[in-house]
């Protein structure tokens, strides 16, 4: 047996995994009957369908020719997602200015060509702009500096 469409196979497996994850969460939600649906009815049907489509996709990938796998771009992806996580983790304790600075620092590693001086200038200007826009003009309740 040969995999004719690796892209579809991985996609199908991901859908099956998602369905399993959903089923594990539905747990003991009451399903009810068609005339009186419980909270579990709709999710159960959808999770079932997700798994079914995933299965069809995976099986089809063994029969029909399709696309190969594209390489995942971890070199850019990891710093980019890392930058978001760092911002989310630090915005509360450290405030807008420092959290944004960390975001720029981490995301710089995703840059196609890194120029520290340029990054530094750009981040100072952009953080200033962000404070002006969101805190001064739009008056959103942001912690700007670390809470003492």
């Amino acid at each position: 047996m040969r995999v004719r469409s690796p892209q579809d196979l991985v996609g199908g497996i991901a859908l099956i995994a998602l369905a399993a994850l959903a089923f594990s969460q539905i747990g003991d939600l009451r399903i009810g009957t068609a005339s009186r649906m419980g909270p579990g009815y709709f999710p159960t049907v959808l999770a079932g369908l997700t798994g079914l489509v995933g299965l069809v996709l995976a099986v089809r990938s063994l029969v029909l020719d399709g696309h190969g796998l594209e390489s995942l771009n971890l070199r850019h992806g990891l710093p980019l997602l890392g930058a978001i996580l760092v911002f989310g983790l630090t915005i509360r304790p450290l405030g807008l200015v420092l959290a944004s600075a960390l975001l720029f620092l981490v995301s710089a590693f995703a840059s196609p060509e890194l120029k520290w001086r340029e990054t530094l200038v750009a981040s100072v200007v952009l953080i200033g702009l962000a404070v002006l826009l969101f805190v001064v003009l739009l008056d959103l309740p942001f912690p700007v500096w670390p809470r003492m």
Binding site: Q7, A22, Q25, T33, L46, G77, L89, T90, E118, L126
Partner: protein, 502 residues
Amino acid sequence: MDSVFSNLALGFSAAGTPTNLALCFIGALVGTLIGVLPGLGPIATIAILLPITFSLDPLGALIMLAGIYYGAQYGGSTTAILVNMPGETSSVVTTLDGHQMARQGRAGPALAIAALGSFFAGSVATFLVALFGPILASFAQNFGPPEYFALMLTGLIGAIVLASGSVLKAVAMVIVGLLLGCVGSDIETGEQRLTFGIAQIAEGINFTTLAVGLFGVAEILRNLEKTQDRSILGAKITGLMPTWADIKQSIMPVLRGTGIGSVLGILPGNGAVLAPYASYTLEKKISRTPQRFGKGAIEGVAGPESANNAGAQTSFIPLLTLGIPPNAVMAMMVGAMTIQGIVPGPTVMNENPTLFWGMIASMWIGNLMLVIINLPLVGVWVRLLKVPYRILFPAILMFCCIGVYSINSSGIEVMLVALFGAVGYFLVKHGFEPAPLLLAFVLGPLMEENLRRSFLIARGDPMIFVNRPLSAFLLLVAVGLLILVLLPAIRKRREEVFHEEE
């Protein structure tokens, strides 16, 4: 007819206050600013800018959003013409002749005709919205739960039919979107569903978080891996205004494009996406010199751009009258309205006429702003396009994070963006198109509610959907669409159409 004008007058007096005009102006400006950045389509642009409207009153917020929406659309066309990089499927057609015109040093006329054609189309379509909105809304009062359910199902099937790539994968996206829509507390019992015990999603996954992750972050990632081939035209843009001959050549294409776009935009299931293609094909077919197309024919810019804008505008009709978004961009608008405490639907017009008509008037004002902003500022957009991506992408990322944080002042919410960003990137890499997912996510809770009510009325008998003529008709349309897309001949043709895009 008289009432249309008095209603429009009410709308213009509400939307025409200096504050609201300023909001519309700022919206159109920042919308274009972000929308012009290569690789960011309207969905991503609106998602990124949505949070800046949160602190406004409902009418102001919607007016600003309308500005952002049209700005994002037009920004996409600008990038398509100048850099040959369409930010969304609907501006793919514009690259064909628009970019060729730019290469011949006629970027100015191409941009001007795109703006003027869009303005004309937008004006006509705004009037159509005002005319047909009330009629459709009063018709919608006869809709019961089964009809709503059938209509949404038809819309989702339409989204599957029009998604590019594999049909099965589009089906998967719709189902996953519906499943994500289930997350949160149950509408009847309030029990927690699929929340993994995370408090931030106890009331459901936040729409902005999902959209920013799936579209904003995933698009940045995709752009980063493309080799930076943005050889933007070095030549100066001289002669912005089109010549008299240009205008004469464009009048009929603009009129035809407006007609095509207006009709296709009303259809459920994102008919608007077809409008530019239909217009381009028509112009090429009836042209006496079809060989000029693809080599810088101004008709190939004027027609599709008008059709695109007309379709974008009339797709507000199903949203405003039925409360059902026909495509992912309109789903964004639902998200924005819900945040403002407005539930879109037939009742808005009667309960809050100022808001309803103010919003319709703001569509026209938004279109006007575009002409005012874009023609003089073309030079600025060109310079913006020259800023290297290594500076742009952290800036976009920061605005995404700040925007999402501002919704609930929650850092966890920001971290969810990283999760959805990774998911969005995975989807694109494996041939799944995320737009149907977003639409299904918004429709999911509405569909579940209407399905439950329908079955409650019918005591569990599914025949209720067939016994009521209107819902039976809608379901028939859905089945018809499904059969259509599965027919081998059409399937092949569909693949060709979407293949041309790439």
